[in-house]
């Protein structure tokens, strides 16, 4: 037996490999555990994971051109978009046939809005053409090239055709390219026109402002948490309620309160004017810009910094600082060399919470951000609910998600995620 155990896998009493035997014994327990989480798991899958996956999929999906204009797409394959000339008659014939079907199903307007993201004017072009194509007869009215150009001379523009050809594939990187201020053209990937480049700026601004908010939260929250952790429990509980108070107030109310405080005819400006620090004609602009967003969001996210800091600081025994002092360290050295390093896990947890919350924050920048203080999330919301360019919205969202994951990964590499403590 001892030979067998040395040379082969360890066997259980009935001769089955021990590993298999163990797995069998644990299977029932695992199943039970799975059953217990099943309702939540299914709920999350159906209502959260699946919609997100679907949404992210939209950032690359591009079936619409091929579905609406199947014959045209085939016919366009022979056409060289770099030739500078309009495609030949067969393409126009195919387009007429496709459009006839599409108009019947009313899908040509959808195609119009999709292609309009890539080139303005295509939407109205397709609408206009759709109305006419409906009256044509595919047999008798050929050839169509002249007729299309008659309807709108844009059909004689090779660029229109180029756009249709470039976006005729089932999947496209076009949304992602747009999301980083690039565009897909027949001649390859190019930067967008200067007046249309907004997303890189928005991403940079979102990250920069989130970092600013995070650091403001550390600066304001650390002393509070320190005080809370070192007071008598009775007093600190009272103060903790004050910290939590904002949680119990509606986000909208708090944000609106900042509007009242910060606007040009607002409380702060009034006081500054009254004590003569600011000239009446020269009131400070503190809202509808980045300053307003940073102030309001720091206030809103501050509890998320204070709470993890507080719970970590509570676990740091007072004896460490005392030991440091007894060893000859001044108050500052004892704090900086002994107390602070032990509170770093709390800072880490607070930073992750505040940063990730703020990078995707929507409502506050929307209300107090004006044009200069909005985040990428506001743009995503715009594409989802106003411009209905879901593909671009999804691409922006995917990039944001990736950015957060990368930052999280970087944090893990640099600080170590084990160093994050919520209490």
């Amino acid at each position: 037996m001892s030979d067998a155990t040395n040379n082969g896998p360890v066997l259980s009493a009935d001769g089955m490999p021990l590993k298999r035997s163990l797995a069998k014994a644990l299977r029932r327990e695992k199943l039970r555990a799975l059953m217990l989480i099943a309702p939540l798991l299914i709920f999350v899958l159906v209502t959260f994971i699946a919609p997100i996956a679907d949404m992210l999929f939209r950032s690359v999906e591009n079936n619409i051109v091929e579905d609406t204009l199947p014959q045209t797409v085939v016919a366009l394959k022979k056409w060289d978009s770099k030739s500078g000339s309009v495609p030949d008659e067969p393409v126009f014939t195919a387009l007429a046939a496709d459009l006839k079907v599409a108009v019947e199903a009313k899908t040509h307007t959808k195609l119009g809005s999709r292609l309009n993201y890539e080139m303005t004017g295509i939407s109205s072009l397709l609408r206009k053409t759709g109305r006419r194509v409906d009256k044509w007869d595919l047999e008798k009215d050929a050839p169509f090239k002249e007729k299309f150009v008659d309807v709108d001379k844009d059909w004689a523009d090779p660029e229109v055709w180029a756009v249709i050809k470039v976006f005729s594939s089932k999947y496209t990187s076009g949304y992602f390219l747009n999301a980083v201020d690039l565009q897909k053209t027949p001649s390859g990937i190019e930067p967008r026109d200067e007046d249309q480049r907004i997303y890189i700026t928005l991403f940079m601004r979102t990250i920069f402002m989130s970092l600013t908010i995070m650091f403001s939260c550390i600066l304001l929250g650390y002393p509070i948490a320190f005080l809370l952790a070192n007071l008598r429990p009775k007093t600190s509980n009272l103060l903790l309620i004050l910290v939590l108070l904002p949680f119990w107030t509606s986000l909208l109310v708090r944000t609106s309160a900042w509007k009242v405080l910060l606007q040009q005819q607002g409380v702060i400006n009034d006081i500054l004017v009254w004590i003569g620090l600011v000239d009446d004609g020269n009131r400070l602009i503190m809202i509808n810009n980045q300053f307003g967003t940073i102030v309001a969001m720091t206030h809103i996210l501050l509890p998320f910094m204070i709470l993890p800091l507080y719970s970590v600081m509570q676990t740091i025994p007072v004896t460490y600082v005392r030991a440091a002092k007894s060893l000859g360290a001044t108050n500052w050295t004892a704090f900086w060399r002994v107390y602070f390093p032990q509170s770093v896990p709390g800072i880490g947890a607070g930073c992750i919470l505040v940063f990730i919350l703020s990078i995707g924050y929507y409502i506050t920048p929307e209300l107090v951000g004006g044009t200069k203080g909005v985040f990428i999330s506001n743009r995503i919301a715009y594409h989802i609910s106003s411009s209905l360019n879901w593909g671009l919205g999804a691409a922006l969202g995917a990039i944001l998600l990736a950015a957060v994951l990368i930052l999280y990964w970087a944090y893990d590499k640099i600080v170590g995620i084990d160093n994050v403590k919520l209490g």
Binding site: P317, T319, R322, A324, A329
Partner: protein, 366 residues
């Protein structure tokens, strides 16, 4: 007690009082003089004020009234980090984010000592506690006993003249604790440092100290070398607190030739040495150590008063026998006898007579 009899002690508490809430005094009028090189233990139950005294000495609490002097100078207004007092904490308080060597090097760094000198001193201190090869470990990787050694080394590495220890062995198991008691004693003797040691463990106090100050209710109940404390407790609290003890209550009948005749509440008469009683009629609590009780009639003085007792339990403990007796209504009267070849082993149910030398039985305050 080395030179505790200096007219001015190295550490002096002069009428020190401490209150946290302005209503209750935690330390009541403490006067204590500790000699240079002395090992003094503050012993007492929790809440007796001993730790508060230590914290006042270390500078983490301020005295409400009175002066604390160190080397003749009042230190009430000197912040802890300028007092130069080494301290070992109850849970060691080793900085978890630093290695052992960094922990030891910390007090030297804040004293702006050069690197090579630092390394040398750190190594010497670690060698002294036999932890020389552990410098690069972190506190979390050490066992309790090893952490304890490091904490000791850290408190000593900057060569303070006075080291305070706040129940440093409280978290260790019995065997390790006993070992560390000797270790601490040896090191403190070798270095000639003054140690103020706080504990609630009387064995620790008795084995290590030059003098022990027994605290209760914010006062020093007795300040004496261990043997005196054990053999000559000055009041019933100390008698109860130090070692095992049998107590009986009664009234003094008469005091003659330095021997008090005490009538116990059960009616029996016994002889005792008057300590806190002055005249006939005083209520008293007499105390007798279990190992001083004699049940061999031949070894007692022929006039000695004896008590009837019934053996309830006989426990064999190896080196000693421990016998529980019923004496009057007291069912917890303990007698300890050495395990010797000629020693009688009592049996439960046996009726015996017990007595003692009058000087072993002390008539204390009631």
């Amino acid at each position: 007690m080395k030179d505790a009899n200096n007219e001015q002690g190295f550490v002096v508490f002069d009428h020190v009082q401490k209150s946290y809430d302005g209503e209750v005094l935690v330390v009541k009028d403490l006067n204590l003089s500790i000699g240079r090189g002395e090992f003094l233990t503050m012993l007492g139950p929790s809440g007796s004020g001993k730790t508060t005294c230590l914290m006042m000495l270390a500078g983490f609490e301020t005295a409400t009234h009175g002066d604390i002097l160190l080397g003749g100078k009042p230190i009430n207004n000197i912040p802890p980090h300028k007092r130069g007092i080494g301290m070992v904490f109850q849970n060691y308080a080793l900085f978890p984010h630093m290695t052992i060597a960094e922990n030891l090097s910390f007090p030297l760094e804040v004293r702006k000592m050069g690197k090579s000198e630092r390394d040398q001193k750190v190594q010497r201190a670690l060698d002294m506690v036999q932890m020389g090869s552990f410098g690069s470990r972190r506190p979390g990787q050490l066992s309790g006993g090893q952490q304890q050694r490091v904490a000791l080394a850290r408190a000593l590495v900057f060569e303070p003249e006075l080291v305070l220890m706040d129940e440093p062995l409280g978290a260790l198991d019995k065997q390790l604790r006993e070992h560390m008691q000797f270790e601490i004693k040896r090191i403190s003797d070798d270095l000639g440092i003054t140690v103020v040691y706080v504990t609630h463990d009387q064995t620790e106090a008795l084995t290590m100290s030059d003098r022990v100050a027994v605290f209760d209710d914010g006062r020093i109940q007795q300040l004496a070398p261990p043997d005196q404390l054990y053999e000559a407790p000055e009041n019933s609290f100390v008698a109860q607190f130090i070692g095992e003890n049998n107590t009986m209550e009664g009234v003094v009948k008469e005091i003659k030739n330095g021997v008090a005749l005490v009538q116990l509440d059960g009616g029996d008469l016994i002889d005792a040495k008057p300590i806190n009683v002055s005249k006939a009629g005083d209520r008293t609590r007499v105390s007798i150590r279990p190992e001083r009780v004699e049940y061999n009639r031949d070894r007692l003085h022929k006039d000695a008063h004896t008590l009837k007792a019934e053996v309830l339990e006989f426990i064999y403990m190896g080196d000693i026998f421990r016998t529980r007796l019923r004496v009057g209504k007291n069912e917890d009267f303990i007698v300890k006898t050495r395990n010797a070849p000629d020693q009688v082993r009592l049996k439960p149910g046996q009726q015996i007579e017990i007595g003692w030398l009058p000087e072993d039985c002390r008539a204390l305050d009631a």
